[in-house]
Symmetry: C2
Subunit: 212 residues, 2 copies
């Protein structure tokens, strides 16, 4: 198909498709004339994946390029996981992290198989440090309950990956799951907060979306 059709089928404006081409997020089409190229279903699929990562997952273009390269590579799945995790976590300088906060995170994650440079371990310590500064009541207990919930989420994540049949599909699920999983969980958490708080305080929302 030509550029105009690629844009129509994927629902992405021509200017945006051209931008992704220039940024090497998608492969060039097969040249059919000096000023024309032919695109196939793989281009459509890739465009949808890019939109998902950037528009819904909130990745920067450079970060999207990095995780797409990891999908295309033949890196072991664990390495793809590590790249995806680093990309969504941003850079955290381990030397800037308070040791006591790190100790408290490690105490909660006791027995977990987690490497010292896991971006989540460092990021959690940074949040705990910040909660201490603002005088949050009981960050350790809060963290412990989050850790229990996170195990359920991680089990669901790994099951989704394991259900895929080949390496390429698994790598894509690793990336999509890592990037969109944060957005999905944050979203569901807000619905759960309203639900639990309504139950606790018997305040039924005025615009409940389900009829009683």
């Amino acid at each position: 198909m030509k550029m105009a059709e690629l844009s129509a089928v994927s629902g992405i404006p021509v200017a945006t498709v051209k931008f992704y081409l220039r940024e090497n997020l998608i492969a060039a089409g097969e040249r059919t004339a000096p000023n024309q190229a032919d695109y196939g279903p793989a281009h459509v699929a890739r465009l949808r994946l890019i939109r998902s990562l950037i528009e819904v997952g909130g990745l920067a273009v450079a970060d999207a390029r990095e995780v797409l390269a990891a999908i295309d590579s033949d890196l072991p799945l664990q390495d793809t996981f590590a790249i995806a995790q680093r990309t969504v976590s941003g850079h955290i300088d381990p030397t800037g992290i308070d040791h006591r906060a790190l100790d408290r995170v490690d105490a909660v994650l006791d027995g977990w198989l987690v490497s010292a440079d896991n971006p989540g371990r460092l990021a959690a310590a940074r949040v705990i440090e910040s909660l201490d500064e603002v005088g949050h009541l009981d960050a350790r207990n809060w963290l412990a309950r989050y850790a229990q919930a996170a195990l359920l989420v991680a089990e669901a994540d790994i099951d989704e990956i394991a259900a895929r049949s080949d390496r390429a599909a698994q790598a894509q699920t690793v990336v999509v799951g890592t990037v969109l999983g944060d957005a999905l969980f944050s979203a569901v958490r807000r619905a759960a907060q309203e639900h639990v708080s309504a139950l606790r305080y018997s305040a039924v929302p005025s615009r409940h979306h389900q009829t009683p």
Copy 2:
């Protein structure tokens, strides 16, 4: 204390403190001379809260101003909750959301007390729509497992709020918990992913932070 001491005690550079003053994120100090003002412990506490929301929670300055105003107000706690949720969720146009995706979210949240315009309900539908587009395997089952975990997290959140003694402290916990809770959960999720995946595939991380 004077500006220099306020900066030293809070650990925030003078230029940044002045920026927050100009942006009305903190109250002006008590004027003691034409070019000098006096600041107290409340200023230090407020500065730490701002740093937590902006630097760790990733809020924009305008969003930080909005949630700080909600803390300072005497709005009912549920309204403060709604403001905090909206601020971290960004604007989502309900008319742009696919109805089938929304139906699938509602099916999973069946029986939850959630208003139609809960930002999490809309955001979850947007993620589900995007997962469908990229051909994610079984988004509904994944969502259902996330919802179970989100209930645990929401219980922990509401318990933290309920443990506070007065309205001002509760409102601050609502805001801090909503903003930093996303960051904390995402962090713990990454550690849990590494742990579950190492257990599942017997791949012990090479740089485990705990001695065996």
